[in-house]
């Protein structure tokens, strides 16, 4: 499969309020082929969000480059969507208008964008919630809507920054299943950030393990286990333990 995202020798330095240098990322190299489900795993503070935000074009790199489809890329673009951890829906818009937001920015007429938004509302199984406001939804439902909103823009790449991190354990498992279904149906390239080993093993074609201060890629692990992965499968447990051990060293 063709390379969709490439990251070349990326470095990111933040300056604290006292002008201290914080090296959030260093020597990050990454190549993501189309349709891959890539999980980025690492302890909190190791620079996962920063990496994703640079790939999204929300943050600039201190040095190094990001390529999308072979072209250098620095600004947000419709082809690369993103889902945040929580509270990213516009609270003054209904669910349907939220899903249609990217299409509104693209200049589609209201009837057109609402009819597309309705398809995606259907996809997440929330037909009866189109006119609801975000505050009327549970956390899991809000994340469903955020995913639908990103997908309604029909991006090639979906960046997800701990999208299920704020959900309870059960809802989280349900959402993981649903995300896999959507990914298989729509064939997107997904970069999924998580600090949960279990989540990475359940979802990823490949796991990038990061370590902190300064943030770098420590290990690149392909997961060949067929889907749907069973958590009680001994291989699943073995992988999880290996990764946990690596994470402890990280």
């Amino acid at each position: 499969m063709q390379e969709m995202i490439r990251v070349d020798n990326l470095e990111k330095i933040f300056y604290s309020q006292s002008y201290m240098e914080i090296k959030a990322l260093t020597e990050v190299n990454l190549s993501v082929p189309g349709n891959e489900f890539l999980c980025i795993l690492g302890p909190s503070g190791c620079g996962k969000s920063t990496l994703l935000r640079i790939i999204a074009g929300l943050e600039t790199a201190s040095s190094g480059k990001v390529f999308y489809n072979g072209q250098e890329h620095t600004k947000p673009r419709r082809e690369i969507g993103m889902v945040f951890q929580s509270y990213s829906l516009m609270p003054w818009l209904t669910v349907l208008d939220n899903i249609a937001l990217g299409l509104e920015f693209a200049g589609l007429s209201r009837p057109k964008r609402i009819s597309i938004a309705e398809e995606y509302l259907d996809m997440i199984g929330m037909n009866s919630f189109g006119k609801a406001f975000p505050y009327e939804l549970s956390g899991g439902m809000q994340q469903r809507v955020a995913i639908a909103r990103a997908l309604a823009n029909n991006p090639e790449v979906l960046l997800m920054d701990e999208p299920f991190g704020a959900l309870d354990a059960y809802t989280r498992i349900v959402m993981q299943k649903e995300l896999l279904r959507i990914w298989e149906q729509h064939k997107k390239t997904i970069l999924f950030v998580t600090h949960s080993v279990d989540e990475a093993v359940y979802l990823g074609d490949r796991i990038i393990l990061m370590s902190g201060s300064p943030g770098r890629i420590k290990k690149d692990i392909a997961i060949t286990m067929p889907r749907v992965r069973e958590r009680r499968n001994p291989l699943y447990g073995k992988l999880t333990e290996e990764l946990l051990a690596l994470l402890e060293e990280a």
């Binding site: 935000r53 999204a56 074009g57 929300l58 947000p76 673009r77 419709r78 690369i80 969507g81 993103m82 945040f84 509270y87 990213s88 829906l89 516009m90 609270p91 003054w92 937001l101 990217g102 509104e104 920015f105 693209a106 406001f133 975000p134 505050y135 955020a146 909103r149 990103a150 823009n153 960046l159």
Partner: protein
């Protein structure tokens, strides 16, 4: 139903208590120039359309005051809202204006009275618009630029502060979400920042009007005024008509509360999402 009755009863306890104390003291003092009885004040409201101490009816005076406050308020809003938005949006604009504004903010609007008078004199909306002399001129001559300025000053600061706060405190995730969905800078401004800041903007408009309205009595002490509730109060005081002073005060309180409730209704109707969003 039961609940609304309870609300009404609870909110009436203090006003009724105040009235009891008032009436009791009026009997004790027995001097209408100090404390008139409730009956005297109620009488004024019953005969509201009478010509009071040569200044016209109560509704006319309230009307004149309302137009004064609304013209000063409008001027304040027209400057404060765009300025507050720009200060919230651009750090540079904020730095340019903030110190300047902070120096003027603590000055109570009424301290501007002498200066306002010196600068604007007795020019009015009528003379500003170059109206021909006649009934219209006399009416619009009531609205002195100096008064409009004072009331505008009063409204200005709370509006600027609240609007700026609203624009600055839009959650970064909302802006980022819009960017990754392909929003242009213009989209960010009109479709994210403005709606997200709208509740704060409305709140600023509400406080601005309350303060503008509260500046009324001071503004109407300026020379060249022959009507308005504030002027009515000042003039009634000079004639020892305390009943009329209280009547005017009640009018100011009631109209102020009414204006405020208009904003509350708007906020509840259109911005209920704000209080319900964590």
């Amino acid at each position: 139903m039961h609940k609304t009755i309870k609300t009404i009863i609870l909110s009436l306890i203090l006003p009724v208590l105040l009235m009891v104390i008032w009436q009791f003291s009026a009997w004790q003092v027995n001097n209408a120039a100090i404390i008139p009885t409730i009956g005297r004040v109620v009488e004024n409201f019953i005969n509201a359309s009478d010509n009071f101490i040569g200044l016209g009816s109560i509704p006319r005076n309230v009307g004149v005051s309302l137009i004064r406050v609304l013209s000063g308020y409008t001027a304040g809003v027209l400057i404060a809202v765009p300025l507050g938005v720009l200060m919230g949006y651009s750090k540079t604009v904020q730095i340019i204006f903030e110190t300047f504004i902070n120096i003027f903010k603590p000055i109570p609007p009424l301290a501007w009275q002498p200066l306002a008078l010196a600068i604007f004199g007795v020019s009015s909306i009528a003379s500003l618009l170059n109206m021909p002399f006649g009934q219209n001129y006399v009416f619009w001559g009531n609205f002195k630029i100096a008064m409009v300025f004072l009331i505008g000053m009063g409204s200005f600061f709370p509006i600027v502060a609240s609007v700026m706060f609203g624009v600055q405190n839009v959650r970064q995730t909302l802006i980022d979400s819009a960017r990754v969905l392909g929003a242009s800078e213009k989209d960010i401004f009109f479709k994210v920042l403005m709606p997200a800041a709208a509740p704060s903007i409305i709140n600023g408009l509400r406080m601005g009007l309350a303060i503008g309205w509260a500046c009324l009595v001071g503004a109407e002490m300026l020379p060249g005024s022959l009507a308005g509730v504030g002027y009515l109060i000042t003039h009634a005081y000079e004639l020892a008509r305390t009943d009329l002073v209280i009547t005017g005060m009640i009018c100011i309180g009631l109209v102020g509360a009414l204006l405020d409730s208009i904003f509350r209704i708007i906020a509840n109707k259109y911005f209920s999402w704000e209080s319900k969003t964590r």
